[in-house]
């Protein structure tokens, strides 16, 4: 693979901590990835792996009192986001980069009609002085795009079901036609049938509008349906990354954690009697183990795993951070 042209988003060696008086949580520990225009990038991992923190850092929406970027950089459309003044960042948020949050029940303002909430994004980024009528037309348009009749725009969030609310959130994120959409577990809070509808809709809209997307999820099925490239996160690190084929090709080499993830999904086709869950829990992010963070739970662990943090090994587009790959053919160590 040759080096990509100019990526839309490039995250390099990003580290983020949450600090309070009592403890320091190392949420993200030196992750790097990039994303080209119109590409979908999946970020997979358990709760607490640092996926949402990564997304919030890209939007510069970390909680002000506690969240702190301790290293690395984020480049978006050629701008170094972490050094940008807040006023510049406001122009990017909503206009060039938008986010869909996990829980539609709480992410809409309960005392504002939904139409007004969508309209707000347009008004905030109204550089070309659209008239009121044009703005209203655009709101109607985007509402019907997500399958809500425009006549409901004067209603309040409490009058919508969960799935409908998420549609409103999506409409709000897409109304300014951003270059990058970050979807943070957009369907976790919804019923399974609604989940499928929403995912299908996001995929369709993405293709139609050509928006690049970061899809954050713990659902490997969603990743397979939607993503071009995938990164698997564990304890604030990317432990495996590649194209969707790389990750889903069962015969290829994988990180033991990724194998564990696949083992945790019921599969009707294979004849396995029972699921094979990954034993144990994620390590305490205030006190990460030395060496490989996954070693306490790893079934292929060797003595070196407890002492040395593994480097990244690469085979074409496929990258894995595990000591096991050292011995494999076709895999070469990547310079950090």
């Amino acid at each position: 693979m040759s080096k990509p042209a100019v990526p839309l988003l490039r995250v390099k060696n990003l580290s983020v901590e949450y600090r309070s008086d009592l403890e320091t949580v190392k949420a993200v520990n030196g992750i790097s990835f990039f994303l080209k225009k119109s590409e979908t990038f999946g970020l997979v991992g358990e709760t607490g792996a640092g996926k949402t923190t990564t997304a919030l850092t890209c939007m510069r929406l970390l909680p002000e009192n506690t969240g702190r970027v301790t290293g690395g950089e984020i480049e978006f459309e050629g701008k170094k986001l972490l050094n940008l003044p807040e006023s510049e960042m406001q122009k990017i948020r909503g206009e060039r980069m938008a986010m869909i949050f996990q829980d539609p029940m709480t992410s809409l303002n309960p005392v504002m009609p939904v139409g007004e909430q969508i309209e707000e994004a347009l008004k905030l980024h109204n550089e070309d002085n659209k008239t009121k009528d044009r703005i209203q037309k655009r709101v109607d348009e985007v509402l019907s795009m997500v399958g809500i009749p425009a006549s409901r725009k004067c209603e309040y969030p409490h009058q919508f079901s969960g799935g409908m609310k998420q549609r409103v959130v999506i409409a709000m994120a897409l109304v300014c036609e951003p270059a990058l959409l970050i979807a943070d577990e957009p369907t976790t809070a919804l019923d399974v049938t609604i989940q499928a509808q929403i995912i299908e809709m996001i995929r369709e809209l993405r293709e139609r509008l050509g928006t690049a997307m970061i899809m954050i999820t713990h659902d490997l099925g969603i990743v397979a349906q939607t993503c071009d490239n995938v990164a698997v996160m564990y304890a604030g690190k990317i432990i495996e990354m590649g194209t969707a084929e790389d990750i889903y090709l069962l015969s290829a080499n994988h990180h033991p954690y990724t194998m564990g993830l696949f083992g945790s999904i019921p599969n009707l086709r294979t004849k396995a009697r029972r699921l094979t869950p990954i034993p144990g829990l994620m390590p305490d992010p205030t006190n990460l183990p030395e060496g490989c963070s996954f070693s306490p739970r790893c079934f292929k662990k060797t003595s070196v795993c407890d002492e040395v943090s593994p480097g990244v090994y690469r085979n074409g587009t496929h990258r894995i951070s595990c000591h096991l790959l050292k011995a494999e053919n076709h895999w070469e160590a990547e310079r950090q």
Binding site: S20, D21, L22, N65, T66
Partner: protein
């Protein structure tokens, strides 16, 4: 060897674990509270005031607080009379010290009465629910439609002034709010799944209330009671200021301020000193309450 020792100390029954957890919970709360310098300041002030009130008789006898001496009328603070003397030449220090006994007694006694009566009633109606709940809550709606001080004034008007009557009046006015608070936290807890589980396991109402509901509501109760002491000290002072509190010449902070207001121009220390004591006690209890709230639920802070 080490291993054996560890094992012998490890909790081995469910009851042990419960005790172990309880102890560490209170220790943890105390550790957090100790870190809160403002709350500790409140604790020190209130302890000092309580100590002075308890030791009042050892410092100056009660008779000094009542002894008039017209020669010393409105005397400013001096080496002999640290706080000066009032309109009848009575030593203000003695009156303040003995007055604090009444003020603190009213503040704490009413808070505990409210805690007991309100807590029990609230827990009961919250847990039992149904018609009893409806009836009690409607009755409380009526009670709480009368402003606190006004209700206390009516009770004092009917029963006459005096410490016991003030205590009854103030407690009565505060019980409705307390019942509501306890009731809603009981309702909150009763919805939790572990209560459901306990009930499914055949536990009795009393068992669930005392074992699960109360321990979980205890934090709110402590915080509210601490804050109540602060506000009841103020209510008591207001009643006495209006002349509806204790019977003169018995000293009480609010009454001292009221007595002093005639001499506002010539002897402002007569109102400033007892006034300062009211504020100090109420402020100390308030910051202590805030600190306790933060220590009990550290999530609220960040």
């Amino acid at each position: 060897m080490m291993r054996a020792e560890l094992n012998s100390e490890a909790p081995n029954t469910a009851a042990d674990i419960l005790v172990f957890k309880k102890e560490s919970r209170w220790k943890e709360i105390w550790r957090r509270l100790k870190k809160d310098r403002v709350a500790m300041m409140g604790l020190v002030i209130i302890c000092a005031v309580i100590f002075l009130a308890l030791a009042a008789n050892l410092i100056v006898p009660y008779s000094t607080a009542l002894k008039m001496n017209m020669k010393l009328r409105l005397a400013p603070p001096s080496a002999e009379h640290w706080f000066g003397c009032d309109g009848y030449g009575r030593d203000l220090l003695a009156r303040c010290l003995h007055g604090s006994r009444v003020s603190l007694l009213v503040g704490f006694a009413t808070s505990f009465a409210t805690l007991l009566a309100g807590g029990m009633l609230g827990a009961l109606v919250g847990y039992v629910g149904g018609k009893l709940d409806d009836l009690v809550m409607r009755a409380l709606d009526i009670f709480s439609s009368i402003p606190d001080t006004l209700f206390a004034m009516a009770v004092v008007a009917a029963m006459g002034p005096g410490i016991l009557n003030i205590c009854i009046a103030i407690s009565l006015t505060n019980i409705p709010g307390f019942v509501r608070m306890v009731r809603s936290s009981v309702l909150n807890i009763a919805e939790q799944e572990y209560i459901e589980a306990s009930r499914a396991g055949g536990a009795s109402v009393m068992h669930i209330l005392s074992r699960h509901v109360l321990p979980n509501a205890v934090g709110t109760l402590i915080v509210q009671t601490t804050a109540n002491v602060a506000s009841m000290i103020l209510t008591a002072a207001t009643l006495s200021f209006l002349g509806l509190g204790i019977n003169p010449p018995q000293p009480e902070w609010g009454a001292l301020v009221s007595e002093g207001k005639e001499f506002l121009r010539t002897a402002p220390h007569l109102i400033l000193i007892p006034g300062f004591m009211i504020c100090a006690a109420s402020f100390a209890m308030s910051v202590l309450g805030d600190g306790l709230r933060d220590a009990l639920d550290p999530r609220l802070r960040t």
